[in-house]
């Protein structure tokens, strides 16, 4: 019984401690005032931005996020999420915005058209290209490699222990937009898709391939800062035509040109938050994005600092977003 009363006493004390600390918050607390930024409309509230796993996306997201935090006084949270998960999060309010969306017609059909929990906020100014790329030395030595019809001729050169005697086609993160498995089958290519797992792993492979003159062919995309370091050469697949990629199982054509758009939670857009207007007005070029992405990847700056550096240099563009352009 001794231990019992003592334990009860302990619990009471613990409860008292928490209670007291709760009471303490009733008094003055530090964060309340908020000396944040010049426009300082601190009624912005929470602003949750999804961070999809590639640096270009990070660049766009942090520029919007830093403007919202420093100039609109929003409470910004960045959430590292893969594309589909981020879409699911917009239905429940965990995510407010996906700042760079690549197609995803199936998700648009589900969440925008059917459920209506998500809205399309229009293009963000970036134009996306997806395709298969080879390092420049390879394209220089074998110029005909840029035509997909010749890929089988070179398949054995691209073979690795991972590709089971076929050529290895290196893909990125399994969550990225890709038809590559189906393309290989449908174009009857003697290749095997191997997933590197991330943008950084793709970049590392391409960088090594160029340096050591190795045979690598892989999935890649623009806008992309790395192309300024190693100008990879795109392989031409059968040209894209409207609807040729409608069925993911039978697709046998190149990727379309993606007009990248902004996707946001419907509740957030109708909430009247100044950040919603910022999202609506945000637009910039591939070059803008690449410059910020370069600062993050090459110079090793934190995404916040890289974004702030661009904002400082381009306040005129930011003002257009803030004033409703």
């Amino acid at each position: 019984m001794v231990s019992r009363t003592r334990r009860t006493g302990r619990m009471v004390a613990l409860a008292a401690a928490i209670g007291l600390s709760l009471a303490a918050c009733g008094g003055s607390s530090i964060g309340g005032g908020g000396d944040a930024g010049n426009t300082a409309a601190s009624d912005c509230g929470a602003f949750n931005i999804a961070i999809n796993p590639w640096v270009g996306y990070e660049a766009s997201a942090y520029v919007v996020g830093e403007v919202a935090a420093k100039q609109l006084g929003c409470d910004v949270t960045y959430k590292d999420l893969k594309e589909e998960i981020a879409w699911q999060g917009m239905g429940t309010g965990e995510v407010d915005v996906v700042i760079e969306n690549w197609g995803h017609d199936d998700l648009k059909a589900e969440y925008i058209d059917k459920q209506g929990t998500v809205v399309d906020v229009g293009p963000n100014g970036n134009v996306g290209v997806i395709g298969w790329y080879v390092p420049p030395w390879l394209a220089a030595e074998n110029p005909d490699i840029t035509d997909w019809k010749n890929l089988n001729k070179y398949a054995s050169n691209f073979s690795t222990p991972e590709s089971g005697g076929k050529g290895q086609l290196l893909d990125g993160d399994p969550s990225f937009v890709t038809n590559d498995e189906a393309l290989v089958t449908n174009l009857k290519l003697d290749y095997q898709v191997v997933y590197a797992g991330s943008e950084a792993a793709l970049i590392q492979s391409f960088r090594q391939a160029e340096k050591n003159k190795e045979w690598v062919i892989g999935y890649f995309y623009e806008p992309q800062w790395f192309l300024s370091e190693v100008p990879l050469v795109k392989v031409d697949l059968p040209p894209w035509t409207e609807g040729c990629d409608a069925d993911p199982a039978t697709v046998a054509c190149d990727y379309p040109e993606y007009i990248l758009d902004k996707i946001a939670s419907a509740d957030f857009m109708s909430s009247g938050s100044p950040a919603a207007d910022l999202v609506t007005n945000f637009t910039w070029t591939n070059d803008d994005q690449n410059s910020v992405a370069l600062a993050i990847s090459k110079d090793g700056m934190s995404p916040e600092d890289a974004a702030q550096q661009w904002i400082d240099a381009n306040q005129d563009k930011v003002d257009v977003w803030l004033q409703g352009g």
Partner: protein, 721 residues
């Protein structure tokens, strides 16, 4: 098919009780089975492999997709069936939000500062540590909490602590009643145990997708996922603890007229307190190990820097964030262990209560003052910027960079050679041979290795068999086009197995059959075999390490003392952290996954092996030494043979750890089931396939576990005989 019956059918039927089989004949038969397998496999390469292209789904998998869509639709339509789920989500969200507002500030924003600043949190934590476990633990807590801040992950660490705390609270609320129920009713045990088994074997990635569907991303999904993974140890251990309360005591109390409720609350629970705390400890550790994976569904905390590091190949960041998790694990582990010991001492009425209460009150008052200060003073509120974390990050990155520059070619060569010489041939044998040949061979091996003996997992079997019937049935129902040969094959197998069983053989046979059927039924035979090949190669490497380092540690106390802390640290690192350095060293692909799996699984295997060697009777060792054994004779002829059962157990644990890591390897080109699970989680149209892959991995895990466990049981007996 003809070859098949010749090859498989005789084995199980003719496996007589162990005694009539000498070891020699058993090994010869085993060799024969493998030889037939290899020859036929080579002849029939590439036929009947059940290969399913990634972009193709079987009808069963499509059916899972449809199921998902209808659930989504029903949820969207506010179907009342989903109301309780929404309530749970909201309740979890509310609790976690309150705690976050109280304790976590977002250091990058001037706007959101926690109500209790860092100094207050440290003070409270130290006080709780002192109250529960004494002065030394209070010091450990202080150092650990400060380390989170100085390493630069204060907010993330507190987030992880909150999620772990809430999940563990839910585990206690569900787990303790379940444990009590199981301790009182054999029926409940039979019903609950298999569910717990599945919860522990199913890879977390496999249920993240469905959980997001039901609970959404962010805190609710995170807490539910963590709870699912962390619940089983508490239930199991507390049931065990309650069951083993001395029957004499119980009788005495009943004789004095206690009601059953009194019995539970006044006698059983207090007497089993220490065991229950052990269960709680295990549950806390399991909850913490989910911290990284749940970041994939938007969970807050230390997982986020780790997955960001994985995406940007930043070994340093992964290391520092991983260290925070290790420190947190040590802190929570020592605190609960110490609290458990104290609770027992206190139960015996030790120590001066009044004095202690006085000190506690004084310390509590001091802590409250700090809490108040931390609310008003900025330096006490937001953790001061520290260079330490960044410095360690840079240091690790430089070291790894240098290592890769120097040994990059060599590590690549190791990867390529192992893949070409070991992995690819094994994969040809398992995945590129006809499925019926492989299934037969696996069954034969299972029967030979783990054949006889009573099944300790009979209840699990019943459950798995039921699941199998349900799943295969659903698959066939959705499919409608399963060939007659398929039915004939499995039908014949079931008959053979049943016959073998009735003859008293084949304890490992039944689960193996059921699991193989399951692999086939979900439509992922080929991918399962790719995963099995990777798992076996990784386990082989783990065992080589386990036995060699284990023998070293088992024979030398000094080696043991030097190596063990490293193993402990490695063991508490969350699995995903291992991928990052492996990514720097090896090209993407299966070997990368194997390397990470070896890192993850070796510590357990080594420890068990070392304990086995140490456990060999000193008298025997002494006698052998007196007889003039050399060192290698001693190891090879005495210590290893005498610790056989430990070695098999070490292989068993190694296999299961490897398997769970191989899934995560799907993130970096590991292929097989792991890739499908990850893919199903990240591509809408592959949801069904991912879920099917999750079922397949669970089946594979149960199968490997049963085969090795029965083998271990057998060798254990051989040893005592």
């Amino acid at each position: 098919m003809a070859t098949l019956t010749q090859e498989v059918a005789p084995e199980p039927v003719e496996t007589p009780p162990t005694k009539r089989w000498t070891n020699r004949t058993r090994w010869l038969t085993l060799g024969g089975v493998v030889a037939v397998w290899v020859v036929l496999g080579l002849l029939l390469q590439g036929r009947n492999t059940q290969d399913l292209p990634v972009s193709q789904l079987t009808d069963f998998q499509e059916w899972l997709n449809t199921l998902r869509n209808s659930i989504e639709q029903a949820k969207f339509d506010n179907n009342p069936f989903f109301l309780p789920i929404d309530w749970i989500s909201e309740a979890i969200s509310w609790v976690v939000d309150q705690l976050q507002q109280l304790f976590v500030s977002d250091s990058s924003r001037p706007m959101s500062v926690a109500i209790v600043g860092w100094a207050g949190v440290v003070a409270l934590a130290v006080w709780v540590g002192y109250a529960l476990a004494g002065l030394r633990i209070a010091a450990l807590v202080a150092v650990s909490m400060l380390a989170f801040g100085y390493l630069g992950y204060w907010d993330e660490s507190i987030d992880t602590l909150i999620i772990t705390g809430v999940s563990v609270a839910v585990c206690v609320a569900i787990g303790l009643p379940l444990g009590i129920w199981m301790s009182r009713s054999a029926k409940a045990t039979t019903a609950i145990e298999p569910v717990l088994d599945v919860m522990q074997t199913m890879p977390a990635f496999a249920y993240l997708g469905p959980l997001v569907l039901l609970f959404g991303i962010g805190n609710p999904g995170t807490v539910v996922a963590t709870t699912i993974y962390a619940l089983p140890p508490l239930v199991r251990i507390s049931a065990h603890g309650l069951r083993s309360v001395s029957p004499t005591t119980l009788e005495a109390t009943t004789a004095m007229g206690s009601t059953s409720r009194q019995l539970m609350s006044k006698v059983q629970l207090p007497m089993a307190r220490r065991t229950i705390i052990v269960g709680l400890n295990q549950t806390i550790m399991a909850a913490l190990s989910m911290a990284v994976i749940t970041a994939f569904i938007g969970g807050p905390g230390l997982g986020n820097p780790v997955i960001r590091a994985l995406g940007s190949l930043n070994v340093g960041v992964a290391f520092v964030a991983g260290m925070c998790i290790v420190i947190m694990a040590i802190m929570l582990d020592r605190t609960t262990v110490q609290a458990g010991e104290r609770s027992e001492l206190a139960g015996r009425g030790r120590s001066d209560v009044r004095l202690r209460r006085g000190i506690l009150a004084a310390a509590g008052a001091a802590a409250l003052v700090v809490v108040y200060m931390s609310n008003t003073k900025l330096q006490w509120s937001v953790f001061p910027d520290s260079e330490l974390g960044r410095r360690v990050t840079n240091w690790v990155n430089t070291a790894v960079g240098n290592f890769v520059d120097t040994f990059g070619q060599a590590t690549r060569w190791v990867a390529d050679t192992t893949t070409n010489l070991l992995l690819n041939p094994l994969q040809d044998l398992l995945a590129n041979s006809p499925w019926w040949l492989v299934a037969g061979a696996i069954l034969a091996i299972a029967a030979l290795l783990g054949g006889a003996g009573k099944a300790p997992g009979a209840r699990l079997l019943a459950a798995v068999a039921l699941c199998a019937v349900a799943v295969v049935g659903a698959g066939v129902w959705a499919n409608g086009s399963v060939s007659a040969a398929w039915w004939l094959y499995w039908g014949a197998l079931v008959v053979v197995v049943a016959a073998a069983r009735s003859l008293g053989a084949g304890a490992a046979l039944v689960p193996t059959t059921v699991c193989l059927m399951l692999l086939f039924g979900v439509g992922l035979w080929n991918d399962s075999m790719v995963t099995l090949a990777m798992t076996l190669v990784a386990t082989l490497i783990v065992m080589v390490l386990g036995v060699s380092i284990g023998v070293w540690m088992g024979r030398s106390r000094r080696a043991d003392a030097a190596i063990r802390p490293f193993l402990d640290g490695l063991q508490t690192m969350p699995a995903l952290v291992y991928l990052v350095p492996a990514l720097a060293l090896f090209p993407p692909g299966r070997f990368l996954a194997i390397a990470a799996a070896v890192l993850y699984a070796s510590p357990v295997a080594i420890k068990i092996a070392a304990d086995g060697i140490r456990g060999v009777s000193p008298t025997t060792v002494e006698a052998a030494r007196a007889a003039g054994s050399s060192r290698w004779q001693m190891i090879g002829k005495v210590q290893l043979p005498m610790s056989r059962s430990s070695m098999v157990l070490s292989a068993n644990q190694g296999l299961l750890f490897v398997l769970s890591m191989v899934v995560i390897g799907g993130l970096v080109g590991g292929g097989g089931l792991g890739f499908l699970v990850i893919n199903g989680f990240s591509q809408r149209e592959d949801f069904g396939k991912g879920l099917a892959a999750g079922i397949a991995i669970t089946a594979l895990g149960v199968m490997l576990d049963r085969i090795t466990r029965h083998t271990a049981a057998r060798y254990g007996r051989a040893e005592t005989a």
